[in-house]
C-alpha cells in the first residue's frame, strides 16, 4: 500500500502460461482487475488500436501520477503486432504531467510532522515526499498504515477505513463519459460493446450491418476501471448489448455483476482477432431477433 505511481503494461497473448506466443487474446482482464491478494483496486486502460497506444500510455501515466496508484495498461497481441497511420502529436499540446512533491510538514496538529497518508480531498491521492526533502523523512511499506499519519496500524476500524479509501480513490478517477456511435440517430436497439483490439473488427461489422439497413450502435471501452459513469444508463437503454471478447466472457461478467444487465457474451479464444464477417453475421442475427421479439 505504498500508493506510488507505476504503469504496468500487459500485452496480452494466448495463455495460460506460455500459451500461444505471437497470438492474441484478451484473457487478462480479470487478472488485471482482481489478480492480487486483498482488496487492491487498480485503474485499467486499454488502447483500442495501434495509434491509440500513445494516448492510452499518456492517460495511464496521468492517472498514475495524479492519483498515486499503479495503473494497468492492457494492450494485446493484435495491437502490438498491428500498424496503422498515426498523426504525430505536437509535444507542446501534450498534457503537463509534472507532479508537485510535498515540501512542507502537513500534520493537521501542531506536531510539525510530515504525514504521508494525508490525502488530497478531491483525488484522495496521498502526500508524496521524495528522499532528500529535509524534515519530511518517513517510512512507507506493505504493512497497513494508519490513516493520515502513516504509522503501522493493526486497528480493525482503521484497516476497514483504509481499504475503503483506496477503493474510493480508484472509483473516483476522472474518466470521460462513454460515447456511443449510432448514425441512425437513436433508432438502434442493439449496442455492440467491446474493448481493446476488437475495435477494428467490431466497427467494420457495424458498418456492414448498417449498409444492410439494420441499425446498430457501437461503443468501445478504453477505461475498464473505473468504468465510465454513464455506462449503466447506456447499457440499460438498449434492448440487447452484445459484448464480443477474445476470452470466455470476462467483461460480460463484470458488466452483469455491476449493472445487472444481461449482456449477450460472444467469445472466441482462437488466438486470432475477430473477423468482420463473423461479427456481421452475429450482429445481424441479434438485431433480427430483437426486431422479431418487438413485433410480437
Amino acid at each position: 500500500m505504498v500508493e506510488l505511481p507505476l504503469v504496468v503494461i500487459d500485452v496480452q497473448r494466448g495463455g495460460p502460461s506460455t500459451g500461444l506466443p505471437t497470438k492474441t487474446e484478451q484473457a487478462d482482464l480479470l487478472q488485471a482487475m482482481y489478480g492480487r491478494n486483498g482488496e487492491s483496486p487498480v485503474p485499467i486502460i486499454a488502447p483500442l488500436s495501434p495509434a491509440d497506444c500513445f494516448d492510452a500510455a499518456v492517460e495511464a501515466t496521468r492517472i498514475a501520477l495524479k492519483y498515486r496508484t499503479p495503473v494497468l495498461l492492457l494492450s494485446d497481441g493484435a495491437i502490438a503486432n498491428g500498424s496503422e497511420p498515426w498523426l504525430i502529436p505536437d509535444v507542446d499540446e501534450l498534457p503537463d504531467l509534472r507532479v508537485e512533491f510535498a515540501s512542507e510538514p502537513n500534520a493537521d496538529n501542531d506536531s510539525g510532522e510530515f504525514w504521508p497518508y494525508v490525502r488530497d480531498p478531491e483525488t484522495l491521492a496521498r502526500a508524496w515526499a521524495v528522499p532528500g526533502t529535509p524534515g519530511l523523512q518517513h517510512r512507507i511499506g506493505g504493512l497497513e498504515k494508519a490513516d493520515k499519519t502513516g504509522h503501522i496500524s493493526y486497528d480493525p476500524d482503521n484497516h476497514d477505513k483504509m481499504v475503503r479509501l483506496r477503493q474510493a480513490k480508484v472509483d473516483g478517477i476522472d474518466v470521460p463519459d462513454l460515447v456511443v456511435d449510432d448514425p441512425s440517430g437513436g433508432k438502434a436497439r442493439v449496442l455492440a460493446l467491446g474493448w481493446g483490439s476488437s475495435f477494428g473488427p467490431i466497427g467494420a461489422a457495424c458498418r456492414r450491418v448498417r449498409k444492410l439497413g439494420l441499425p446498430i450502435a457501437q461503443a468501445h471501452l478504453r477505461h475498464l476501471n473505473p468504468l465510465p459513469a454513464n455506462l449503466g444508463d447506456i447499457l440499460r437503454s438498449y434492448d440487447k448489448v452484445v459484448v464480443p471478447e477474445m476470452n470466455l466472457g470476462q467483461l460480460a461478467l463484470l458488466l452483469r455483476a455491476k449493472y445487472l444487465v444481461d449482456v449477450h457474451s460472444h467469445t472466441k479464444v482462437a488466438g486470432l482477432p475477430f473477423k468482420a464477417e463473423e461479427l456481421q453475421n452475429l450482429f445481424s442475427e441479434i438485431i433480427t431477433g430483437v426486431t422479431t421479439e418487438a413485433a410480437k
Binding site: 505536437d90 528522499p131 526533502t133 523523512q137 512507507i140 511499506g141
Partner: protein, 354 residues
C-alpha cells in the same frame, strides 16, 4: 558485437551525498515507532549499532534511505528516522538499484535476512552484486525463518530439525559470503550482532565503498534458533574460531595467536599452527586482490559448524559501478545531442499527408 572502454572514475561511496555540519546523535536516528521484535532478539543490537554509527557519517539525514524486503529484519526501516521503504519480499535490492541509479545524492541501504535475500530474493541479490550498484546490503543471518515461526532457511544446516524439517533438513545450506563473492561482489564483510565494534568498522568501510557491499551479520534468533552462534560468543570458543581479518596483517588467531592461515593445496587456504609453518608462510590479508579466488578461499575456511569464522572485510575492490555508468551514458547522450522529444516522435520514416 562491439565492446568499448567505458572508463569510469572511481570515487568514494558517499562522495556525492550532501553532508551537514550539524552534530548528530543516535537518538536523531530513532523513529517514533515502537520497536517490535521478540525480547532478546539480535536485531535490537544491530539497530542500536546502526543508529549510533549513522551520525558518524555526517550526512544529511534526509539523504539516507533504508529499503527492506519482508521478514523480521525487514521491519528495520520503520525504526530509523530516515527515508524508508518496507518493500517487496526479496526485491529490496531491485528497488534500491532504481533509487541509487536515479539519485546519486542518496546513501542507499538494504536490510534483508537469510530468507529474504537467499530464498525468494536470491536472483535479485546476485544481480545487484554483479552490477555493483552503489548500495549497502545488510544481511541478517539467523539461519531460520523467524517471522513465520521457525521453518528452515537457506542457511539452516543439514540435519537441522525445524517445524518444516521434522526429520532434519536434507538441504545443503548457502554460505552467503561465498555466494556474494561468486556473484562478483566488490565488497564483502562479516560481523557478529554482539560485536558492536567489529560491526561498526565493517559498516563504516561499507558506507565509504563505492559499489555494492554485502555485510553478513550473524544474528541470534532467541525464539526459533536460539544459540546458533553461541560458540562465537563464548570467549574461549571464540578465540579458536573467529579469524579477525586486518588488511596488511598476517592472518592469525587463537587464544595465543598460535593459529594462522596458509596457502593450501589446489589454490585454497588452510588453517595451520604458526609453529608448524613459520610466520613467514602466513597469508597477509589483502582485501583488494581483484581475483575473487582469494576472498572465496577465505569464505571457505570454515564450515557451517562455525569451526573457523573469518570476520571483518574479506573483499574490497574498486570496479565501475552500474549507477555511475548508467548516469554517465545518459549525460553523454544528452551532451552529444539536445534532448528532442518531438524529433523522437517524428522518427526517421514519417511523412506528411497533404
Amino acid at each position: 558485437m562491439t565492446a568499448i572502454d567505458i572508463g569510469l572514475p572511481t570515487i568514494g561511496g558517499l562522495d556525492l551525498v550532501p553532508t551537514t555540519d550539524e552534530p548528530q546523535k543516535a537518538k536523531d536516528y530513532k523513529s517514533d515507532q515502537e520497536v517490535r521484535w521478540c525480547p532478546g532478539c539480535g536485531d535490537y543490537v544491530v539497530l542500536n549499532a546502526v543508529q549510533s554509527f549513522l551520525p558518524t557519517l555526517g550526512l544529511k539525514r534526509e539523504n539516507i534511505v533504508f529499503i527492506s524486503g519482508i521478514g523480521c529484519s525487514s521491519r528495520f526501516p520503520y525504526y530509523l528516522n530516515t527515508y524508508g521503504m518496507h518493500s517487496i519480499h526479496g526485491r529490496a535490492p531491485s528497488i534500491a538499484t532504481g533509487l541509487a541509479t536515479t539519485r546519486p545524492d542518496l546513501s542507499v541501504w538494504v536490510v534483508t535476512g537469510d530468507g529474504d535475500a537467499l530464498s525468494i530474493g536470491g536472483n535479485h541479490l546476485i544481480h545487484a552484486l554483479r552490477r555493483n550498484v552503489n548500495i549497502k546490503i545488510l544481511l541478517f543471518n539467523n539461519r531460520i525463518y523467524g517471522l513465520t515461526k521457525g521453518q528452515y532457511s537457506p542457511t539452516s544446516g543439514q540435519g537441522m530439525v525445524t517445524k518444516s524439517t521434522p526429520m532434519g533438513s536434507v538441504d545443503t545450506p548457502f554460505n552467503p559470503l561465498s555466494l556474494a563473492i561468486g556473484a562478483e561482489a566488490s565488497f564483502v564483510g562479516r560481523a557478529l550482532d554482539s560485536d558492536r565494534k567489529g560491526l561498526t568498522e565493517v559498516l563504516q568501510a561499507a558506507a565509504q565503498h563505492r559499489g555494492s557491499a554485502l555485510v553478513e551479520i550473524y544474528q541470534n534468533c532467541p525464539i526459533f534458533n536460539d544459540g546458533a552462534f553461541d560458540v562465537l560468543k563464548d570467549a574461549d570458543e571464540a578465540a579458536t574460531r573467529l579469524i579477525p581479518l586486518r588488511a596488511g596483517e598476517p592472518i592469525r588467531f587463537g587464544p595465543n595467536q598460535e593459529f594462522g592461515v596458509k596457502r593450501g593445496d589446489w589454490g585454497g587456504l588452510d588453517v595451520a599452527k604458526v609453529a608448524d609453518i613459520g610466520e613467514d608462510n602466513l597469508v597477509v590479508h589483502d582485501p583488494s586482490i581483484a581475483d575473487t579466488s582469494y576472498a572465496f578461499a577465505l569464505s571457505r575456511l570454515g564450515d557451517q559448524n562455525l569451526n573457523h569464522v573469518p570476520t571483518g572485510i574479506l573483499r574490497q575492490v574498486e570496479r565501475p559501478t552500474y549507477d555511475d555508468g548508467a548516469r554517465a551514458q545518459v549525460e553523454e547522450a544528452r551532451a552529444a545531442r539536445k534532448p528532442d522529444l518531438q524529433g523522437l516522435l517524428r522518427g526517421k520514416d514519417t511523412w506528411t499527408v497533404a
